[in-house]
Symmetry: C2
Subunit: 227 residues, 2 copies
């Protein structure tokens, strides 16, 4: 089976030296890749510079991306040639459009005027006491996967922070339906520590709990090969 | 000699999953540490998780920091017990104070009202088409060094992007005087590539050019031991 995994977190540049990053170590992606390779599958890992990665080995191909635009360009092609996509990457929801001194915001009658502006400098200057950064939503990657390959098996991820269990599962199920995914791995940042990673593999009808990254990888492997 | 080096780039958290990062690989800090250790000095390296680091060895101590607040807390103590500080870290100029949907900005009569607000959520929600992030200046670390230790030899760094040479040297010299530094290493991002790193070691009276990271390290070493 040809399995595509995304891991790590995207970064959206503010200027040539600063970026908004989504913090993600890539550990789960690395463990999934290793377990799937061991089971005899071909793995393509789309990840980021700072994410941890498996050692080079046969049947493993690694692509490195930076921002959402490069993620989309890379996935659009790869999704067509894979049987499964496990999309565990932490993808930026917003990307910077314009950064201004606070004073500029106070001079405009409608702040929406600033949404149309773009920075000309390559390194935005830093004299003002306060700055304001305008951001716009990035295109949702996961919602396009099934359009690019209607036959792919799609496992999405949903990370929330410190929410009741019912809410976590409900939000995961909404994502499942909206993005035509086969499963969503729902997890809460409060349940992720060095040797514990509680996750719930949610389908339309069930939710199965796993307690470590290895358990999550094993559970996903069973589901994608059994179904 | 006890030499303190900072390297890598700080990150300022927006919420529990996103941060504004200053991109810096830490390569120059690593090379300086290695060359100074080889010359028989004691090196303390204050760096970040994603920065490259020298191998563990005797006479090398590494501290890991994240944001400007943790950098200040760490340096405040270390500066007192070192003879030299080489401050090559890319330090965040601004830190997030409040992130809001764009609609909230359009409802207030004075945008300054939002500077006093704080996000209550641990992961800021992402429904709106546009968001706006308010930032405030971080305390300038370099300007406090000589207050903490009047006897320390201070080498600061100034990175600009695609400016004329005269401007680069002028800005470095302003920083030298303002921060009571002994030298400023002035460099332009356009002159930094894989095997080239043009830098100018600027004092009140001279500017000496170096062409690689190794040259920069060697030049700084000569100056701090000769003076």
């Amino acid at each position: 089976m040809k399995i595509l995994i995304t891991s790590g977190g995207t970064s959206e540049a503010i200027d040539s030296v600063r970026a908004i990053t989504n913090q993600s170590t890539g550990s789960l992606g690395k463990i999934m890749a290793e377990i799937f390779l061991k089971a005899g599958h071909e793995v393509t890992l789309v990840t980021t510079k700072n994410a941890v990665k498996p050692a080079e080995q046969s049947r493993l191909t690694i692509y490195q991306i930076t921002d959402v635009a490069s993620l989309i360009a890379t996935l659009k092609t790869l999704v067509k040639s894979h049987d499964v996509l496990i999309h565990s990457m932490a993808v930026s929801d917003y990307t910077p459009v314009y950064m201004a001194d606070f004073a500029e915001l106070q001079t405009v009658t409608d702040p929406a005027q600033l949404l149309a502006k773009r920075n000309q400098e390559t390194k935005i200057s830093s004299q003002a006491e306060h700055q304001v950064l305008f951001l716009t939503k990035t295109p949702k990657v996961i919602s396009q996967i099934v359009e690019w390959n209607p036959n792919i098996k799609l496992i999405g991820f949903k990370l929330l922070v410190d929410v009741p269990h019912e809410e976590l599962i409900e939000v995961a199920r909404e994502s499942l339906i909206k993005n035509k995914a086969d499963y969503i791995l729902a997890n809460d940042l409060k349940d992720i520590q060095a040797h514990q990673h509680i996750g719930y593999l949610v389908s339309k009808t069930e939710e199965i709990r796993a307690n470590t990254k290895e358990d999550i990888a094993q559970l996903i492997l069973e589901r994608i090969t059994d179904d």
